[in-house]
Amino acid sequence: MITNKYDVIGKGLPRIDGLVKVTGEAKFVSDIKLPGILCGKILRSRLPHARILNINTSKAEHMLGVKAVITAKDTLKKTFCINMRMANNLLLQNEKVRYVGDQIAAVAAVDEEIALEALSLIEVDYEELPAFFDPFEAVIPGKPKIHKEENNIALSISRSFGDIEKGFNESNIVLEDEFYSPPVAHCCLEPRGCVASVDASGSLTVWATTQTPHPLREELSGVLGLPMIKIRVIQQFMGGGFGSRMGMDPIDGITCLLSLKTGKPVRIVNTRDEEFLSSRIRYPMWIWLKTGVKRNGRLHARQVKIITDNGAYSMEGDTVMGNALSKVAQLYNIPNAKYEGKLVYTNNVYGGACRGYGNPQITYAMEIQMDKIAEALNMDAAEIRLLNANEPDSVTISGLQIGSCGLKDCIREVVDASGWAQKRGRLSDHKSSVRRGIGMANMIHGGSGVKFFWGDNCNFSAATIKFNSDGTADVFTGSAELGQGSNTVLAMIAAEECGLMIEDINITNGDTLVTPPCRGAWASRQTFTAGLAVQLACKDAKRQLFEVASYLLEANQDDLVAKNRKIFVKGNPSKFIAIAEAASEAFFNSGVPIIGRGINDDPWSFKPDSKTGYGNINSAYAFATQAAEVEVDMETGCVTVLNMYCAHDLGRAINPLLAECQIEGGVLSMGIGYALTEKLIIENGEVKNRNFADYKILTMADICNVHTILVETVDSKGPFGAKGVGEPAMIPTAAAIANAIYDAVGVWVYDLPITPEKILKTINNKQRVLRR
């Protein structure tokens, strides 16, 4: 644990928006009240693949209480996607529907009941087309196309580093396995929604459940054909995101269209059924992984092939699959790597960003194989990971420039905290039908965002700060607060940098009218990128304050320090003025208010080379080790997670309490479910388990203890040394549990989730490994 020399940073302060949330005052999209607001509803396809021959909306239009009915002809038919080179989704489908849930028409009416009845009056004539739900079938040559791509392949990627054939030839042991990661739902507790209100000048105000308010404004401008100054996006309090609210959803554009057509405010909110049916999902992946290792335990070659079910439309499949693939060249020191991936269209619901962005899927495969390798070499699973761990200030074969890296510390901390040496291989009583085991898994993930969404060089965040004449300050950031606590962290960074207390700072975020732009909350980037922007803005303001203070104190600006609401000369704290005094002086006597500006344009990361894939794609990398202690009932196959031990290298815990919240939440509310219980059951393209009784996430009755260890490596670039932690929280969890299950009962389950049925089947089918 490093010494904390800071006044605000490093303290587990309560979050600044806690009060409005515990009182119910915090307004979410569905809470917004506007006079005359209409209820919008979307007509969704019940067919997975069909040509739209005709849509007759006349009956719906004439119904009393219906104010507007729109179809594709009421739109500009502009496609949208975070990567516009792959864009093929429309707000309302024009020629074809391509999945069950696809949007065809929309209605705005005076209340929900009328809106729903109006939907039922819309008549659609379809010509049904052959549909594919399995990417292996969709790629067969000669099969009908879902879009225009041959063999329904949206994208093929192939990259190689080192010499893979030589690498395998030189390896002493080579393992090959196949894994499967299913479609998984984000299950944000707040269903997705949007309120749009047009005023008499034709300007839209849009309250959205969005993780990316500024980019959403750009996307709306594109699909609506309106200049951006006519669109204001306000990110409301949001009931979860986890990636699902990155980028525009058709709901956002459709709500705007209905408001523009009716001249009234309109709200559309998904029902929970719609949320499960049509919201984007975690991309399902079929992973074939081959790893070669030397007898001394050093990884020597790793090759992966991934088939990703893109679903019906392109969203982020290219970068999610790319992220998953590239991890084989990133996690651990490895001299030879190759990856190949195919992104395939099907008539299933399409995927999007989901916490971890492809990394949970590949980490599941890589870290199970690590344990298999350890066993083949008769090495301890922690030892082999220590041997191969990434090191600080190193470069991987794919060009990642790793700065701070605490992976070895994470492994050691987990080994200590969990009692690994006493437990591994020793917990099971072979006379009992209830067995226990412990297993671990590592991960590497970007902690700062990447440059290649929306363009080739775009990972900025901007912030401004204006001091008030009483020494308090308003900070404006384009960042998005999803509940992860970014506003609190940014307020703490601002307070520390300015020498103020957190209660002196006001944060305004995510309103495109009043905040400078930021690319939003994704890739665990807010603390790093928005934090640096806020820090830069504060440094700018501080320089101006010091200019004023220097003549009041008759001191050199370079000798001044701001701390505890004072400005004083370094080494002579008795010679000080209050920050409030400097601010007041600036306002009323200098006549120049203190306004600071900061833009973090991320000078350290790059879009990888388009041919080789080589490049440093993040400014900072987060690392983690998690260990799971489980109990497996060999008669029922039921797995109970007893304890989780989680060590996360997050650079610096700006707020340790919030960091622990992220890790606990990632493990308990998502990671364990991903491992054991969660899967969307899709039949003939329709999601069947569309409620919380049939799609199981953990409840409070299912939880275990989570021992969290924050490893602070103090990154040289991050604000006060911080890196991201949001996604890492659940990336290694499933692999740790799978490895623990193996320790308990001697079987691996390669396809998620690890259900009791699969455990029983695998135990019955395979010979149990003898205990040493």
Partner: protein, 154 residues
Amino acid sequence: MAKRTIRIHINHEEMEYSVDNKITLLDLLRDVLNLTGTKKGCDMGECGACTVILDGKAVNSCLILAVDAEGSEVETIEGIREGSSLDPLQVSFIENGAVQCGFCTPGMIMSAKALLRRNPNPNSEEIKIALAGNLCRCGGYNMILKSIRSLIKE
């Protein structure tokens, strides 16, 4: 649209409303009374975001028709603070990191409040069972559990 006039106590105030037979207590609270602190997460009694206290019991208000709440005492998140002072649960949730996105928070607090009123000294298992009907996707539950446990006088 058939309507009925009902008398109901909401947050210690007696009120009389003409309500549609078909609307739920949740919709009455949110859409008619503008008490939007109680949330709609699923509208089918599975997530607990709509939890209120009805005649002393924690209930999913999405599963109760407004007309069936006639004559009942309903407490929502807006009603549990005493004037300007927060309820101890609210303070504890803030201090112990039990709040993240905040969508499940009102429901969690109401379930916890109902529990502590009927059982001022629940053990961890009892707390977990009482709140098992309140889903949380952000926070992992342990902080919520800790918040509640910290109020129990051993």
